[in-house]
């Protein structure tokens, strides 16, 4: 820890950009500005170009596809000739009626709460970059890390539908088919993941430093 402490004194809050250096986000190599990283060959940028715009574009795409994902049926079941359609929320309610409360909770949180929370967090982070929203940077980082970690789990309901459709094909009395919502939900999750990955987190800290200096 000695070295770490001394580095804080020598380069008191100096970032790589302020020192005229560029850090590779892929492999971590620190270097003088150049086109590509000497070590891993990735394109080298002090801040990812168009990070804000790309994050916003993917976020909007993710939110747009989340709407049909909730309005259209996720699962279309045929039992003895009668057709039954269920949406995401309908599926959760069905699980509650079966008495599978825990599974209902898992699916409900993963398919409704997590996507909504992820939209909100990415939106807040984008707002904080433009300094329209003031938030403790540590809270922001934790929010980002948590949503990044659990965001992938939203995919669970898509897997459930695919497994059910595959399984029931083996059966004779019933047939299960995925509805339009399954595809739009999968796309919504993929777009939101791409949105989070497009966000260059260094921009968040840049905006915070500038705010500090102005105040």
């Amino acid at each position: 820890m000695d070295n770490l402490a001394s580095s804080r004194k020598t380069y008191a809050s100096l970032t790589a950009r302020e020192a005229g250096l560029v850090a590779c986000t892929t492999c971590g190599l620190l270097d003088h500005p150049r086109q590509t990283c000497q070590r891993c060959g990735a394109a080298l940028h002090s801040r990812e170009p168009l990070s804000y715009q790309r994050t916003l574009a993917w976020l909007i795409a993710g939110m747009v596809f989340f709407i049909p994902a909730n309005l259209y049926p996720m699962l279309i079941t045929n039992t003895f000739g009668s057709e039954q359609k269920s949406t995401i929320i309908g599926g959760v309610i069905e699980l509650i009626e079966y008495g599978s409360y825990f599974v209902a909770l898992v699916v409900g949180v993963a398919s409704i709460l997590v996507p909504l929370a992820k939209f909100a967090v990415i939106g807040l982070l984008l707002a904080s970059i433009r300094r329209a929203w003031k938030l403790n940077p540590h809270q922001r980082l934790h929010l980002y890390e948590i949503t990044e970690f659990i965001g992938r789990w939203s995919m669970i309901d898509v897997f459930v539908v695919a497994i059910l459709a595959a399984l029931i094909q083996l059966d004779f009395v019933a047939s299960v088919n995925p509805g339009f919502a399954a595809v739009s939900f999968a796309l919504s999750v993929i777009f939101t993941m791409l949105s989070a990955q497009s966000l260059d987190q260094r921009l968040i800290w840049d905006s915070m430093n500038e705010t500090d200096r102005h105040e």
């Binding site: 804080r8 620190l30 995919m155």
Partner: protein
């Protein structure tokens, strides 16, 4: 401050917030964290390469094996049928099911297998103290890019949820392939614990820059 005098090789920058820190050797089991945001900058896990390589080899074998064993067995209407993952995937052809199943197959089989293979390709020569293969940086970059898109653990929980939903319609039992995928998930968890991509990049860098 005179910035031209700064030697980049003596410093590391935090990948999250860009703050500079003095680079130093990390002692075994220690983790170096960013002074501003707390992000892990470097960690020294003993035998990180050995363990990551072992996990990747195990996973590649398990994923291929899981394709050929029954994944799930269904008892209904007086007959028993079993399906491998390949059966399940190739049984589709109608409507929205086909693109959905392709996406699922990519997330649970193709991407985890590609990632495991890329890790084996990167780490195999390093394990035996030889120079890395020519495309090792590209392979290791691919492995890191694919990481969030490898969703075997989510699929396993999905299978359990599907079994709860189907319980009223038919009797379903799990085949060996299900347990192989579960093993893949456990190995991935272990691998995550030992994995430090900065360490591996440093080893790769010694060869490519020299």
């Amino acid at each position: 401050m005179n910035t031209t005098s700064i030697d980049p090789s003596a410093l590391i920058a935090c990948p999250n917030c860009d703050l500079l820190h003095t680079a130093r050797q990390v002692s075994e089991g220690e983790r170096l964290r960013c002074a501003r945001c707390g992000t892990k900058l470097a960690s020294s896990r003993p035998n990180a390469i050995d363990r990551t390589l072992a996990a990747a080899v195990t996973n590649a074998i398990l994923i291929v094996a899981a394709l050929f064993f029954p994944f799930i067995q269904l008892d209904g209407g007086g007959t028993r049928q079993s399906a491998t993952l390949i059966d399940a995937v190739s049984a589709f052809g109608t409507g929205l099911t086909a693109p959905l199943v392709l996406v699922v197959a990519a997330f649970i089989i193709v991407i985890p297998f590609m990632r495991a293979s890329a890790l084996v390709y990167t780490l195999w020569p390093l394990r035996f103290g030889r120079a890395p293969y020519k495309a090792a940086p590209q392979a290791f970059r691919l492995a890191n890019t694919l990481k969030p898109w490898s969703m075997a653990e989510i699929f396993i929980i999905g299978v359990v949820v599907a079994l709860v939903k189907i319980a009223g319609i038919a009797q379903v039992s799990l085949g060996p392939a299900f347990w192989m995928l579960t093993a893949v998930v456990l190995v991935l968890l272990l691998e995550n614990h030992n994995f430090c991509r900065w360490t591996i990049w440093q080893v790769l860098g010694k060869h490519t820059q020299a």
